[in-house]
């Protein structure tokens, strides 16, 4: 009989503990508000995982791991002729592009990442079906669940802390008027730089997360670190659900009349001259 429920009542930690202790084999399907994840287990170990929204093919995972360039990725995609992951893996190993270890490490890292992100889902319908194996053409791994559960628990604690600091994702962020004295010594991550162009009081944090493909935990981490660095501050926003996706810094000339555009440019010219 399948195990069914909602993550809000039976957490992922509890589910993984059950699968680990009972050495279960099967598939866990979790459906969130707009994405679904499938995780396969063999004898209580993580074997395979995929998020329906992502490219879970071997070539996609190697590209995401930066082992393949974009042009290599597109080339293989175009010329792969329906080659399965196992066939492609063998081809790449035999051609000495990668070692078996390279490929297995990338897959393992990707699968663990898929499961780790599931820990940030506070709700979602799940179903565990026993004795369903991963697709035949996919390469599987064997990862112990203990460390994944520990890491997941740590993430949940971090998320709880961040939820206290940033209680709602429906607020906006703006650049502070006077950044701290040490901004020139900052080290920003690529995720933080991804968010910077969207910093605008009109954009909610949730909208920024959607457009940058960051999870709730990740966007909270980024916003919290930018706030801590003294670059941005949180503000109330006029945006609400149902509003269009966020824009980057807008092109005001495109939005206004020509005369308004000229007037705006003259104001900037006057200011630059006075510097």
């Amino acid at each position: 009989m399948a195990i069914k429920g909602n993550l809000s009542e039976f957490t992922l930690t509890q589910l993984l503990n059950l699968i680990n202790l009972a050495q279960k084999s099967g598939t866990l399907v979790v459906e969130g508000s707009n994405e679904a994840v499938e995780v396969f287990f063999t004898n209580g170990k993580l074997a395979y995982a995929q998020n329906e929204q992502e490219d879970s093919s071997l070539v996609g995972i190697l590209h995401k791991s930066k082992l393949l360039s974009s042009s290599q990725y597109q080339g293989i995609k175009a010329n792969g002729n329906g080659m399965s992951d196992k066939e492609l893996g063998l081809l790449l190993i035999n051609a000495n592009y990668f070692s078996q270890q390279d490929i297995l490490s990338s897959l393992q890292s990707h699968f663990v990442d898929v499961v780790n992100r599931l820990f940030t889902w506070m709700e979602g319908m799940f179903q565990f079906k026993t004795d369903i194996s991963p697709p035949e053409d996919k390469i599987t791994v064997r990862v112990n669940l203990e460390n994944i559960i520990l890491e997941g628990s740590r993430q949940i604690q971090e998320l709880e802390h961040l939820e206290e600091e940033i209680p709602s994702l429906e607020i906006g962020v703006k650049f502070v008027d006077r950044p701290g004295a040490n901004v020139s010594n900052l080290r920003l991550s690529s995720e933080e730089w991804q968010v910077i162009p969207y910093v605008d009081p009109k954009n909610t944090i949730r909208q920024i997360a959607q457009v940058t493909n960051l999870s709730d935990l990740e966007i909270r981490q980024v916003v919290y670190s930018l706030v801590q660095a003294g670059i941005v501050e949180m503000v109330r926003t006029v945006s609400s659900e149902g509003t269009p996706p966020p824009s980057r810094l807008p092109d005001p000339i495109a939005k206004g009349t020509k005369e308004e555009g000229k007037s705006l440019i003259f104001r900037i010219i006057d200011r630059i001259r006075s510097l």
Binding site: K174, F175, R178, P179, A181, V183, S184, L186, R187, L188, S190, W193, Q194, I196, P197, D200, P201, I231, S247, R248, L249, P250, D251, P252, I253, K258, G261, K262, L264, I265, F266, R267, I268, I269, R271, I272, R273, L275
Partner: protein, 183 residues
């Protein structure tokens, strides 16, 4: 508060960070890290993501200057940065002709992302081995109507001139649109 954006781009080590720093009212926010690549070991650190500086225009408007990453491997950031920009400045190191081809490629890439006005700034014109502007125009294959300006990115007046020329180009383009509409 209205926010506007200009992009400062150009090859690695062309002087983008200095350019922004010269006119920004805040310390330029930038990421710098040690470089390992042989080719890029010209300076100790390089911009790996982007810089940004700020100029308050008045109480209602802020202009941000975004500097793009200098290295090819960060070109995925360029499209993100180019969206919604008023215009862009391509900085070229006048003393390093080996980077001219790269500068040309970057210019074409940005033009493809957004056909907004731009100017080219020939930086380090105070150096003895800087190329003459006319020679650079030929090497960069720039048409006569494209503004190629002498620049020393560490000098505020020089940077102001480049930004003003870009703004005049934006104005000129607006005038052109008017003419097209009234034709």
């Amino acid at each position: 508060m209205q926010t506007l954006k200009m992009v400062v781009t150009g090859p690695f080590n062309a002087g983008k960070t200095e350019f922004i720093q010269s006119v920004s009212e805040i310390d330029v926010v930038s990421t710098e890290r040690k470089i390992s690549s042989e080719i890029e070991r010209i300076k100790e650190t390089t911009t790996v993501a982007m810089d940004f500086g700020r100029i308050s225009i008045d109480n209602e408007m802020v202009l941000y200057l975004f500097g793009t990453p200098g290295q090819k491997r960060f070109d995925f950031m360029w499209e993100i940065l180019s969206e919604g920009m008023l215009g862009f400045v391509v900085i070229v190191d006048s003393t390093r002709p080996e980077t001219f081809r790269e500068a040309r490629k970057i210019l074409e890439t940005f033009r493809a992302y957004a056909p907004t006005p731009y100017v080219v700034a020939a930086n380090k014109q105070d150096c003895e081995d800087a190329w003459e502007i006319d020679d650079m125009r030929i090497a960069l294959r720039l048409n006569p109507e494209i503004k190629l300006l002498e620049c020393v990115a560490t000098r505020k007046d020089s940077v102001k001139t480049v930004l003003l020329e870009l703004l005049y180009s934006i104005l000129a383009e607006l005038e052109t649109i008017d003419l097209q509409l009234t034709y």
